[in-house]
Amino acid sequence: MTSPLITRYMADLHRELPAAIADEVAGGLVETYEHHLATGAGDAEAARAALAEFGDLATVVGEFTRQSPGRRAARLLLATGPAAGACWGAALILSRAWTWPVPATARLGFGAALLVAAAFLVAAATSRHSYQRTRLAAAACPVLLVLDVTAVAAAMLAAPALTSALALAVAISLSRIAFTARTLPRLTAR
């Protein structure tokens, strides 16, 4: 039987953090509580002492949030985004991309998806107290994968010639595809 204070804290942990992390941290909290019980403290006193020794929920969740894989991946993708965007922009202008046989709806859809993915990444990258928000990176990564693959395919199929600027942009996209594909399983597993 555990104190209601401890039970509530554990429920909050499970609401805020992935199950594997919450299980581990909750185990540590129970151990802290039992340590105080063993020293002769009463139930409520042991619970209060354990919570004080453990640290408040916001601090614990914040520490996990700041080092979450979703936040790290989002920051890396956002940091390399401007360089990738600039390369693609220059390559598309030099290749006169407006003359490529790509429907306007496809262009608009690409732009809209890119904006949504970027918004998700910004939300994940700037999260400091919500682990759940860092999970948005897991939603953005598949979209980015599809966008990068689409951009590379469009360049290969629609561009009249593979200029050096276009080759550089394709190389950057391929690097991002490799990083995203490698990172995605970690983001969805936790």
Binding site: I21, D23, E24, V25, G27, G28, L29, E31, T32, H35, E53, F54, G55, D56, T59, V60, E63, F64, Q67, P69
Partner: protein, 109 residues
Amino acid sequence: MKAEAQVLKGHLDTLLLASLENGPLHGYAVKEALRDGSGARFDLPTGTIYPALRRLEAAGLVTGTWAETGGRRRRAYQLTPAGRRRLAGDRAAWRDFASAVTAILEPAR
């Protein structure tokens, strides 16, 4: 006290690695090892030990595995070869730093 907590935070990774040097420990045991090893001077909030251990794990310096002991599931951490190398490097750097500070604060007369 606040300044000491900041200094401690700067050395937290090394202290955690050192606490695991003699074998695997779970989070609460790591906290106790730090407290006991420092004569109760380093009494960190238990809840902050777990994120730090996960950070070391993500960096490849420790590995964590679930095991059942005494009817309770716990995640025990142990040093990886990279963690041992990092600890050795940090220890050497700390000795150099400490001896330099001591030489200034307590010059030979």
